[in-house]
């Protein structure tokens, strides 16, 4: 039983950092840069795939509950060993490459994708002093890496020489490119508020507390709007329902990785989830105060735990949405991106800029909120009038 003295708390919080430094002590000076890099990357390489495994199980069970069934419950107690089983299966499966496929591209596509997905984590501050590289323009780096994914997807879709995969790839790229703009613009708000592109300093800016409550950006009107918009765009970026057209089973069976099987398929699957975690992570970093505790009296809980808790919450949200919302149509998707998301994010940026110029106080808060609300109402009203965006009706078979 350890005593929760401040020093102990500090130790627990920084345990991984301390461990790394302790290990570095044994390494000769020549190899130190490389080793330190490896020691920083390794935890990421271990932790997130593990989370991925857990999440698959969570998703399947959650969806099961939502769809009023049990989900996996055979392997192991309550089916907890299901991820293992899946992993083993996908590793042992035969790796089929279509005869007409473009071998090299077909091979490199999943590799590039996974690399990109992992690269994105290098700027995520998982905990206090726990970031792989603290780039002075980390957010930019994150979005830049996001661009790499698109190329990978295209490679995958095109190299398979199958109309389904090509269509899926094209859909995916169009969608990701269209939603990248609102994603970046929505994220820009936090950067504006902090005045820095470095993820670490963004989190530190949010980690201060004004009695009990932290000043996370999500608690400001523009922050909240930005967070919502960002999450919508992120859902589209990571091709999840309701924006899962690229792999819409009912239309193009599995989209761009229809021709992949076995390990490569697993890689794609992994990359998808890693991408989702990464975008959630950046959302946490930008709006939910990264590893900072939600209440000042909870700061004794280690920071990384907070990060992963938030990540878990957002993941559950993703799953919930996936289980709830049906898929959009392509034109609806595009209309939504260009006619709603883009103007809204721009207005949000305007609001955030105005926020800087008004004196601190409830009045500023209210004014900003009213401005955004009015903008939202007017925009949706206008779009509904023009019939670009409409409330969807569900028609049940009767």
């Amino acid at each position: 039983m350890i005593v929760l003295s401040p020093s102990n708390i500090e130790r627990i919080d920084q345990i991984f950092v301390l461990t790394k430094h302790w290990l570095m002590g044994y390494v000769p000076a020549v190899a130190q840069p490389l080793t330190s890099a490896i020691l920083s990357v390794l935890p990421v390489l271990i932790a997130f795939p593990a989370i991925f495994a857990v999440t698959t199980l969570l998703e399947r069970k959650g969806l099961g509950r939502i769809q009023n069934r049990y989900g996996p419950n055979r392997t192991g107690p309550w089916g907890v060993l299901q991820p293992m089983a899946d992993g083993v299966k996908s590793l042992t499966k035969e790796d089929i490459v279509p005869a007409t496929a473009d071998r090299w591209v077909h091979f490199f596509a999943p590799v590039v994708m996974v690399i990109a997905a992992f690269l994105a984590y290098s700027v995520l501050p998982i905990g206090r002093n726990m970031v792989v590289v603290n780039l002075s323009s980390g957010v930019l780096f994150f979005f830049a890496i996001g661009a790499l994914v698109e190329v990978a997807i295209f490679m995958a879709g095109w190299s398979s020489r199958s109309k389904y995969s090509l269509l899926g790839a094209m859909r995916a790229i169009a969608q990701m490119v269209s939603y990248e703009t609102p994603l970046v613009l929505a994220g820009l708000v936090a950067v504006m508020a902090t005045g820095s592109l470095s993820t670490v300093s963004i989190v530190e800016a949010q980690a201060q507390y004004s009695h009990y409550l932290p000043n996370w950006f999500v608690f400001t009107p523009w922050g909240f709007a930005g967070f919502v918009l960002f999450m919508i765009a992120a859902t589209a970026e990571s091709n999840r329902s309701p924006f899962d057209l690229p792999e819409g089973e009912s239309e193009i069976i599995a989209g761009y990785f229809i021709e992949y099987s076995g390990f490569k398929f697993a890689l794609f699957f992994l990359a998808e989830y890693l991408g989702m975690f990464a975008t959630s992570g950046i959302a946490i970093t930008l709006f939910l105060g990264g590893w900072s505790a939600p209440f000042s009296f909870l700061t004794w809980v280690p920071s990384y735990l907070w990060f992963f808790l938030k990540l878990l919450a957002i993941t559950c949200g993703f799953i919930w949405i996936r289980g709830t919302l049906p898929r959009l149509r392509m034109d609806q998707l595009m209309h939504f991106a260009w006619k709603f998301m883009l103007p809204m994010t721009l207005l949000n940026i305007f609001a955030a800029a105005a926020w800087k110029f008004f004196p601190v106080g409830i009045l500023r808060w209210l004014g900003c909120a009213v401005f955004l609300a009015v903008a939202f109402v007017l925009l949706t009203r206008g779009l509904k009038k023009r019939g670009d965006v409409s409330v969807r009706q569900y028609r049940f078979a009767d």
């Binding site: 473009d102 323009s137 979005f143 830049a144 295209f154 790229i173 490119v177 990248e180 820095s196 592109l197």
Partner: protein, 170 residues
């Protein structure tokens, strides 16, 4: 450092060379992407972090994707193998080599005088932002106008018969 430089230079040359020499346009685009990434890495190695990342964001994220769309829509990837190089490609290569020779001579001749800075220059993003909004505000505005014009023009050119995927090039 030199090792890193050689590695990146090799990657870049490899990528661009592939982009310019491969027969299949899609391979060319992949090569181009590789080269662009290498170049971006070179920028990073030179300490221009912001530029490098912008390079990736713009070129890989936008230009390469755009080219991909163009290829897809012009069906260039199914073009016959025999007509990838123009008849006078030799002349082109010769010319290029000549240019390289001249440039190399120029570099060799010119770059003796400049002393090499060993200190890595500091380039925070704030500096760039300030410069953009103070010293370079006029070019910035002009670029903004240019981009708008390009957006509209490209939209008008490309949207003659609207294809769902090609709405407004980014």
């Amino acid at each position: 450092m030199t090792l890193v430089f050689l590695l990146l230079a090799a990657i870049t040359i490899l990528g661009f060379g592939a982009a310019m020499s491969l027969r299949n346009p899609v391979h060319c685009v992949v090569g181009l992407t590789l080269g662009l990434l290498g170049l971006a890495a070179l920028y990073l190695q030179l300490g221009a972090q912001f530029v490098g990342l912008t390079q990736v964001l713009v070129y890989v994220g936008a230009v390469a994707i755009l080219i991909i769309f163009a290829i897809m829509m012009t069906r260039s990837s199914e073009s016959a193998e025999d007509q990838t190089y123009s008849h006078s490609w030799r002349a082109g290569v010769v010319l290029a080599l000549a240019v390289f020779a001249v440039l190399g001579w120029a570099v060799h001749f010119g770059s003796t005088s400049i002393p090499a800075q060993n200190v890595m220059p500091e380039l925070p993003v704030q500096t760039i932002g300030d410069a953009l909004l103070h010293r370079f505000v006029l070019p910035l505005e002009i670029i903004a106008v240019l981009l708008t014009a390009a957006l509209i023009g490209a939209g008008v050119l490309a949207l003659q018969d609207p294809v769902p995927e090609t709405r407004g090039p980014r």
